[in-house]
């Protein structure tokens, strides 16, 4: 059974009713449950859990330190291209947005990587808009060896690919794939994805399975918080994660919890997630899944990020640019979205250390397993 079939078997109305009618008893049971399950996640994401956020945070910190120590992995996004053949009303890269389009050439990529290496990073997330013909598998096959030569850990956040394409990229050094569903509500999904291949909800939903079958080390899931009811979307993200973990148990998983940010031509959030809600979300996922990587982007403001670091986060970026070529030539013409934390990696690293956390710049060496 695919996850699409699984999802179609769930009654959204019933699930929403259960989510909004959870009681304090359900939350207390979840807090006292040694192993997280989907019932516990439901309770912890519910409005009934709001008075328990401090308790959730205490547990989240304890579980995170127990599993990961004080370590937080540092990564940086490298935008390869802002070309996009999709029209999505929340994204600055949308094809109808009048902005200067750019795809990095080999020498430009080298120049970007040189700046990033100087900042201390060894883990990279390659990002592109979704343009299959101009920034497709042939381009990625060209780029990956060049990047892997410089970075130990290589993740990608690009358009969904076929299983054999992912397999090819694994052979070239691909370690992780981030593929965010944006929302698990097919109707909302259809409203926001107006044109282009991204309109295909089912194909995107099946992507993590193709990634897993191709043997990629880590799979990143996520929703764009604010497109739909964040509690329900997050709960369905939990269902997706549980499904994948059960079926593809050799893979590692991460979640990203981005809130909808202002961007060129973009929409305002429909269902606002407050700071308090974000804390609830991070802690609920940590209590649900103790081995899960949870990453935090520079979309959040510096002070909030500092407070969120210890609560369950395992990976974060600092000093990000969201435009191709932006590390060499910073300007704001080509951005995907606005970032809030503009501190340098050194400043963020210092803030982490003040809180007793240890930034980890290198955490993988594929030569150990090459053979």
């Amino acid at each position: 059974m695919s996850f699409l079939t699984y999802l179609q078997g769930i009654s959204r109305d019933k699930l929403k009713l259960a989510l909004y009618s959870a009681t304090s008893g359900d939350v207390e049971r979840a807090l006292n449950s040694p192993e997280g399950d989907l019932n516990s996640l439901l309770a912890l994401l519910s409005p009934a859990a709001e008075p328990y956020i401090e308790q959730m945070a205490q547990q989240s910190v304890r579980l995170t330190r127990q599993r990961f120590g004080a370590n937080i992995g540092m990564f940086l996004p490298l935008y390869l291209s802002n070309l996009c053949a999709n029209e999505c009303d929340y994204c600055g890269f949308s094809m109808s947005n009048k902005l200067k389009r750019k795809t990095l050439t080999g020498p430009e990529l080298d120049a970007e990587m040189a700046v990033i290496k100087k900042l201390g990073y060894d883990s990279i997330l390659l990002v592109s808009g979704e343009h299959e013909t101009k920034v497709g598998i042939d381009y990625f096959k060209q780029v990956l060896p060049q990047v892997k030569h410089q970075f130990s850990y290589l993740a990608m956040e690009v358009q969904p690919l076929a299983e054999d394409e992912y397999s090819e990229l694994v052979g070239l050094g691909l370690d992780a794939v981030m593929i965010y569903q944006e929302t698990y509500n097919p109707q909302t999904y259809a409203e926001h994805h107006i044109r282009g291949k991204k309109k295909d909800f089912a194909y995107r939903l099946d992507t993590p399975e193709r990634v897993a079958k191709a043997g990629v080390d880590k799979i990143g899931l996520g929703v764009l918080l604010g497109l739909d009811d964040w509690r329900l979307d997050a709960l369905l993200l939990g269902h997706h994660l549980a499904y994948l973990e059960s079926k593809y148990w050799r893979s590692r998983y991460s979640v990203s919890l981005p809130r909808l940010r202002p961007c060129t031509g973009g929409i305002a959030p429909k269902a606002e997630l407050t700071d308090k809600g974000l804390v609830q979300l991070i802690c609920a996922f940590r209590l649900f899944n103790q081995q899960l990587d949870i990453s935090l982007s520079t979309r959040e403001a510096p002070q909030l990020r500092d407070n969120l670091f210890p609560l369950g986060i395992t990976h974060l970026s600092a000093g990000s640019s969201t435009q191709p070529g932006g590390y060499v030539n910073p300007d704001t013409q080509l951005d995907q979205f606005e970032i809030s934390d503009e501190r340098t990696p050194a400043q963020v690293s210092h803030a982490m250390k003040r809180r007793g956390l240890n930034p980890v710049w290198k955490d993988w060496e594929s030569a150990w397993v090459a053979g």
Binding site: N32, E54, Q55, Q58, S246, K276, V279, Q303, N307
Partner: protein
Amino acid sequence: MLKIADHQFSSRLLTGTGKFSTPRTMLEAIECSGSELVTMAMKRLDLKSGSDDILQPLLSSGVKLLPNTSGARNAKEAIFAAELAREILDTSWIKLEIHPDPKYLMPDPIETLAAAKILCDKGFIVLPYVHADPVLCRRLEEVGCAAVMPLGSPIGSNQGLVTETFLKMIIEQARVPVIVDAGIGAPSQATRAMELGADAVLVNTAIASSRDPVAMGRCFASAVQTGREAYLAGLGQVNSVASETSPLTGFLND
């Protein structure tokens, strides 16, 4: 209802046929236990005479027979025993047991996985007896086993759920029924296995070696049912949460 492959059982207690003082006691104990799936060793079948004082009465009692490959020391022997069982007993169901170690009768994980893959490919309904190894159980599930049967403690030892920590992991992760097999020595231990979420338990020595196997069969029947009901009702949690003093979320009030 317990569903294994395409078959449904109303009882979640599986029993064995070894160690009883008489075939009659065995039959009575099985009947009182309510068990509908009963395992017996292929090595005990009398192939020469064509009749058997255990087999024939069992078949007549209407229970489903689960032949096992106990005595097999490697995959080759187990596959041969399974094929023999299919031929003689006209069933594709097989409890796969491979234990080359005569002292503790520990199941051999490598030979078991190899045999399970071949038997599943040949169309058998394979229920492998294994150590309580969560990774092995997932790999057995992947090759197509219809259930997994991790041990609670060494076979015939009546030591109970020595492997409880690992049984919990297996139960949490499995997508096929988990039947706790071997080592359950008392009804309370069967209840505990069911409370943890096991789909069924298999009990033989604890019933057969008791002073009154028939009464003990009955006790296990109710113990398994109680454990299952407790699992479905949801156990109350042991409170492990201490109240911390320095808030981590105070910044939300700023």
